[in-house]
């Protein structure tokens, strides 16, 4: 679970870094990815891996449309206007998904079905191992991509200073579009990975998106390692909290910790530096 939070948080942070906007529809993107993959497999009977791939590509396209409609026209507007517009999109997606796929949750088994692996005395769901594996790969890929490839560097330059980047000949709006595409693809990956553990339903994204956002702040907003560690931390915290404190309050821990962190170390564990120029 922690790895999923980390993956969704990563998607939020990538966008936040690039355009300083929080995408409240990220949880719904996860849901959309899971639904698209489920439809491709269950209705069109495509092989599992190819439907994963197609779902990720479709979400990439969707990411482009999303930023064209809900972000780009608002890019010069204050932050809150864009945030509310993404909230509008998330409401729309949640309800349109309910219309298209119906209110019943869909069970969509993953690569491994119901099997579990036994390691010594512990039963492990291989899906969980897959999630951890894929998240690790994606994080390494992302690091390599942003640090070493020209395209990644251009995207990073755009994130740091749009004006300077455009003076250097970087096509800023194209970089922003790419960032949104990448972030939606990350969400789709999280969606297909999560589908076998949760049922696929219109509501699966809501609290996931908020918790991932909380995780990214706990880790330190705007920091990629922070998002990952924040996500993992939150996942572990929820499990232990549910086991040792109270299981009905499982969903509260994330937000209690969030507020405590904000009060006592507002930059999070690995935070961006906040300074105000006068």
């Amino acid at each position: 679970m922690g790895a999923i939070y980390a993956l969704v948080a990563l998607g939020i942070v990538v966008i936040a870094n690039a355009v300083n906007v929080v995408n409240f529809a990220q949880g719904e993107n996860v849901m959309l990815g899971a639904y698209v993959a489920a439809t491709l497999t269950l209705t069109l009977h495509l092989p599992l891996l190819s439907s994963y791939l197609i779902a990720i590509i479709i979400l990439g396209l969707y990411g482009y449309v999303f930023q064209r409609v809900a972000y780009f026209p608002l890019r010069k507007k204050p932050f809150i206007t864009v945030v509310v517009s993404t909230i509008g999109v998330s409401l729309f997606l949640k309800n349109i998904a309910r219309i298209i796929w119906g209110p019943q949750p869909i069970y969509f088994s993953g690569l491994f079905g119901e099997h579990t692996i036994q390691v010594a005395n512990i039963f492990v769901d291989p899906q969980n191992l897959l999630i951890i594996g894929v998240t690790t790969c994606l994080v390494i890929f992302q690091y390599y991509f942003f640090a070493k490839t020209p395209l990644g560097r251009q995207m990073q330059a755009t994130a740091q200073d749009q004006e300077a980047a455009s003076l250097m000949g970087i096509k800023v709006s194209r970089m922003i579009a790419l960032t949104f595409i990448y972030s939606s693809m990350l969400a789709a990956a999280a969606g297909v990975l999560l589908a076998p553990i949760f049922f696929v339903s219109a509501d699966m994204g809501g609290s996931l998106g908020l918790k991932a956002f909380a995780a990214s702040i706990i880790g330190g907003f705007g920091s990629v390692p922070g998002a990952i560690i924040g996500g993992l931390f939150l996942g572990v915290l929820e499990i232990f909290g549910a086991a040792y404190i109270s299981s009905v309050y499982k969903d509260v821990f994330a937000f209690v910790i969030l507020i405590l962190i904000l009060v006592f170390m507002p930059r999070g564990l690995f935070g961006e530096k906040i300074s105000t120029k006068v």
Binding site: T81, V82, V84, I99, Y249, I259
Partner: protein, 329 residues
Amino acid sequence: MNKKYLRAIIGVLLAVVVLAVPSLMPDNYYVGLANLTLIYIIVAIGLNFIYGYTGYISFAQAGFFGVGAYTSALLAVDLHVNFWAALPLSGISAAIFGVMLGLPALKLSGHYLAMATIGFGIIVQMVLQNWTPVTHGASGIGSIPGVSIGGMELASQTQYYYFLLVFAILAAVLSWCIEHSSMGRSFKAVREDEIAASTSGINLTFTKVFSFALSALYAGIAGSLYAHMSSYISPDTFSFDQSIIFFTMVLVGGAGTVLGPIVGAVLLTFIPELLRFMQEYYMALFGIAIVLVMLFIPQGIVSFFSADSKLSAWLANHGLHSKERGGNT
């Protein structure tokens, strides 16, 4: 025609319409909806103090609303406290929560504040839902006694309408007074530039916490009214989604104006109802509508009619009315 007269006529017409609402509504259900609108107007005016005047984001308003509603309901049902005693207590308890949220929020802004207030709202809802011995849990609280004035109990929705109307008007008038007081000017100074405001001798801590407390107080009072009017409350009502709706009311109507939250509350309570014939499509359309409003009228609907808007300029160009001409005729 003189603009002053025009304004007065519009004002009188509006007042007549507002007073006649219960008889204009096709049935009792819609009068109930009008009552709900009045309650939401109070909540939205409260939120406007934080967002509209002081310029801070808060998605905690449904939480404050819930604190108020639960305080009142629990006092009335479990401790048999009279409504008139429960009402101020609800406001005060919500305001205390407002101060509690306002203090940590002092250091925060932007995403951080948004997330802290979301977290606060969710925690409140979870506690209402799970702390069963005190809050009656997920099943909610039923048979909350109604309001009685001087021994006469309010029986019909229409009577509630006029009762709530008094509160909504008081809320709006108080909001106008605060806006034009030195406190209101401090709010706006903080919104425009915190550092400049603090160097001009404005006590930032006090101003911020006060605006949070004030907005929570409004929500708490509205919550108490809601509990006693609907006689049944449950934790579902006070969700994050509801906070978004409150926030959208302020934004759609026009933040930082007295009229904005009122217009927003009316629209956002009645439009979903008008769209209800589309059944499951209406929430999806509601989402699109929010995006469209942000795209085309981010300053809110009220800005459409303000003196320096495009609409006014267009009207002036076509000789329909203008500031200069208004006085001459």
